[in-house]
């Protein structure tokens, strides 16, 4: 095949395992086939909602970390986040979607998570 190129490692199996893992996380395609269009759109919408939900969670964590919240405020945040998480779970069940299916590859935006 090629003359120069090398792939050198003393742990090929470990790398095969890890690289296959991340290649398996390719985003799902959206297609306009009427049978699937609902599910495709649901997936897109829920993924975006999930992104927002995770960002909100992270923001809440940072505020708690800063120590600037009262006990009551922490409790309210807990309630909100709980409800959001449960709602997401419900929506996923309604559309028959698994967690992995909502893993949109955001490229550089992925670092926001």
């Amino acid at each position: 095949m090629t003359i120069n190129r090398i792939v050198e490692t003393d742990s090929p199996e470990a790398f095969i395992e890890e690289i296959e893992k991340i290649q398996g996380a390719l985003p799902k395609r959206i297609d306009a086939n009427p049978k699937n269009v609902e599910k495709g759109l649901a997936k897109l919408v829920l993924t975006l909602i999930e992104l927002i939900r995770k960002l909100m969670e992270k923001q809440a964590m940072r505020r708690i970390e800063s120590g600037s919240l009262s006990d009551e405020e922490i409790e309210r945040i807990g309630e909100t986040l709980m409800r959001l998480e449960n709602k997401m779970q419900e929506l996923k069940e309604i559309f028959g979607l698994e967690d992995e299916e909502l893993n949109l590859n955001l490229g550089p935006l992925g670092d926001l998570m």
Partner: protein, 71 residues
């Protein structure tokens, strides 16, 4: 020894796949033939959608899209 050589080939293939599927020059727009016989919704993620098509084909699904679909 043969087992090691086989494994190395797998790693090489994975490295090639990682590059060739959606890196490099990715041409966007209608001028590139879509390989599916289904119209895709462009949501600004065409790059990602293209590589999913490719992966699905690699997984052995027969290549349905070589013919043009009558419109």
């Amino acid at each position: 020894m043969e087992g090691v050589i086989t494994k190395s080939k797998d790693v090489t293939l994975l490295e090639v796949l990682d590059r060739v599927l959606d890196k490099g020059v990715v041409i966007s727009g209608d001028i590139v033939i879509s390989l599916a016989d289904v119209d895709l919704i462009y949501v600004g993620l065409k790059v990602l959608i293209s590589s999913v098509e490719t992966m699905e084909r690699l997984r052995g699904a027969p290549f349905a899209g070589a013919q043009e679909e009558p419109t």
